[in-house]
């Protein structure tokens, strides 16, 4: 009897020969992550009980990505509290504001999150770890229990397999695959429930670099997946080996593993997608949304904050100017990418185009702490989701698209099919080698 990747990882960390979907286990994680938005609550809870220490400070990574700029007194106080908390708990892997970047991106880039790993995280988008074949599991406020005791209960998730066949056409990106998936499920074309499942990709995956693999993890998360797993390619393993900060052993599902469901997509049939306001599943082919005027745009977030995405944006923006009346925010996923933007010439392209660069982190996608929309405005972005009010008033209309679609649309001032706008070939070609 074979096992899925998540079953193997949870068996290893739970000290068991094997586990299967539905079992409740208490894994000893390889890492524990908490972000700046929840430290105060977690520490307050532990302090009230009298728990002044965390069980394994060397395993804990504290990141600052949700509110980096401190646009309010409250945010500044929170940042100050977090710094004290890190010192009191003895957290060496504390990434303060302006350090590291987005917690679901930079740890993979720098080799802290590696194939076969398992970690607890307070945040839903820990699923990004699947881009390198690792698992991060959201436990929300229960992160306090993990910090204090080292673990908490986990129900082993079922796994659903999605086989991607063929090649994505030019101008269609990995984010489009996610929107397409959500659309197929929402409108009943595919009968699958991702609630607390691991979505495991299979098929022709070598075309997807690390950045694209991160994008593949994004939308399933909004469909309530507990995890996403992209079996690491030779190229991803090579990158991880060269950057690894610790030893790791990649994990793959057995060929006779038990999947709850299996389905497949023909990638060549997918067009660029635009998710209409309200839900990632409200996706349509871009042609059905073209012409809608936009006021606000941003490229970044857990789903599209990799250097590949920034190269994609630059390939459209080079030598062009953003439409009058549109503001475009570029939000790198990491301090490392911000540095590369400057070193590799992208910064000049963004400045010449009239785009605004925000510090590495979540950007507007976190509760509009920076770069919000105004009442009645229209936004097109690569945010993780477009639920009403995600980054501004409830009556703002939030559309989602791929980095290519957002960049092309920011230039024209209306939703635009990126296939109709030539991109700079040299920059586009660099996307493939963004993480080698």
């Amino acid at each position: 009897m074979g096992f899925t990747a998540i079953e193997k990882v949870l068996a290893r960390t739970s000290g068991r020969e094997h586990v299967q979907a539905g079992d409740i286990v208490y894994p000893d994680p390889d890492m524990v992550m908490i972000h700046d938005g929840l430290v105060r609550e977690a520490k307050g809870e532990l302090d009230a009980i009298g728990i002044k220490q965390v069980a394994a400070p060397k395993k804990v990574m504290m990141v600052s990505d949700h509110d980096v700029l401190y646009g309010s007194d409250r945010a500044a106080e929170r940042g100050a509290f977090n710094r004290k908390a890190a010192a009191q708990w003895g957290i060496e892997a504390f990434y303060d504001a302006g350090r590291g970047g987005h917690g679901h991106i930079f740890p993979m880039e720098q080799g802290s999150v590696l194939p076969g790993m398992f970690y607890f995280d307070n945040d839903t988008h820990a699923t990004n770890a699947g881009a390198v074949g690792a698992f991060g599991l959201r436990v929300g406020n229960e992160i306090s229990r993990v910090l204090a005791t080292g673990t908490t209960w986990v129900e082993v998730p079922k796994t659903v397999q999605l086989e991607l066949n063929g090649k994505l056409p030019d101008g269609v990106q990995a984010r489009d695959v996610g929107f397409y998936l959500a659309r197929q499920v929402k409108f009943g074309k595919v009968s699958v429930d991702l609630d607390y499942r691991v979505l495991e990709y299979a098929g022709d995956l070598d075309q997807f670099g690390l950045g694209a693999r991160v994008a593949l993890c994004s939308t399933p998360t909004e469909m309530r997946a507990a995890g996403v797993f992209v079996p690491p390619s030779a190229a991803v393993l090579k990158y991880c080996n060269e950057h690894a900060k610790r030893a790791f052993t990649p994990v793959f599902s057995d060929t006779d593993a038990t999947y709850e469901a299996r389905f497949s997509f023909d990638l060549s049939a997918i067009a660029p997608q635009v998710s209409l306001p309200g839900n990632v599943g409200n996706a349509v082919d871009v042609g059905e949304a073209t012409g809608t005027a936009i006021d606000h745009a941003f490229i970044g977030s857990c789903g599209s904050g990799m250097y590949e995405d920034l190269l994609c944006a630059a390939s459209f923006l080079k030598g062009r100017r953003i439409a009058s009346g549109v503001r475009l925010f570029i939000v790198p996923g990491s301090e490392r990418s911000t540095r590369r933007i400057v070193e590799e010439g992208l910064m000049q392209i963004f400045l010449d185009a009239g785009a605004m660069l925000l510090p590495a982190g979540c950007g507007p996608c976190n509760d509009a702490v920076v770069g919000p929309v105004a009442r009645g405005e229209v936004s097109l972005s690569t945010a993780t989701n477009n639920n009403h009010g995600r980054f501004g008033p409830l009556d703002a209309r939030l559309f989602l698209g791929s980095p290519a679609t957002v960049a092309a649309s920011a230039l024209t001032g209306k939703i635009t099919d990126p296939r109709t706008m030539p991109a700079d070939a040299a920059l586009r070609d660099r996307m493939e080698s963004a993480y080698v």
Binding site: G37, E45, I49, I51, Q53, T124, G140, E142, T149, W153
Partner: protein, 178 residues
């Protein structure tokens, strides 16, 4: 755990499918504001869909829902439900929503397939969370659903994550960390 009351009996409040946590269970501002104080949350429980709910409900009352209750991982409303002594019976709820309910010490059952056909708002109903036995005294009917998993009973009985941690600290943690 023997003193913990695993059987609730009271009035039924029935809800439909796909009730969002932020908005319908509790106003979204308390979710984004990470408000977890029951005294603050209680007056706003179901405020949008049933104003004044908190003044009418009584300890032991049971909220019965259709499919996909809560629609996500947030748990602020469960803090208010737990503090009011209510129970929750769902046709289905997302696992993260279920986790949030358990984490806040709420007596909750999910996978109660068909329960919305077995009761109506105002019925006198009872649930034994350890056995899964559901009784509608008004209709004089019983039905069995999956009970609270054994592994999670201690967590609920201690009042959820905070209570469990306090208990752990008193019995084990302080010695371990000394």
């Amino acid at each position: 755990m023997s003193e913990f009351n695993w059987v609730l009996r009271g009035r039924c409040y029935k809800l439909g499918n796909d009730v969002p946590h932020a908005g319908d269970v509790i106003p979204a501002s308390f979710v984004t504001g990470r408000e977890m104080n029951p005294d603050v949350l209680i007056p706003h429980l179901f405020e949008r869909i049933d104003p004044g709910f908190h003044t009418r409900c009584r300890p032991g009352d049971l909220i019965v829902t259709g499919r996909n209750f809560g629609m996500g991982p947030k748990g602020n409303g469960y803090v208010a439900m737990q503090a009011l002594g209510l129970g929750l019976l769902c046709e289905s709820t997302s696992v993260q929503s279920y986790r949030a309910a358990i984490c806040n010490g709420l007596r909750v059952l999910t996978h109660c397939t068909g329960i919305t056909t077995l009761c109506d708002t105002g019925d006198d109903i009872e649930c034994n969370f350890l056995t899964g036995r559901f009784t509608n005294h008004t209709r004089k009917q019983t039905h069995d659903f999956p009970p609270v998993p054994e592994e999670l009973r201690e967590l609920i009985a201690k009042g959820g994550n905070k209570g469990w941690l306090a208990s752990w600290w008193q019995t084990v943690g302080a010695r371990q960390q000394a």
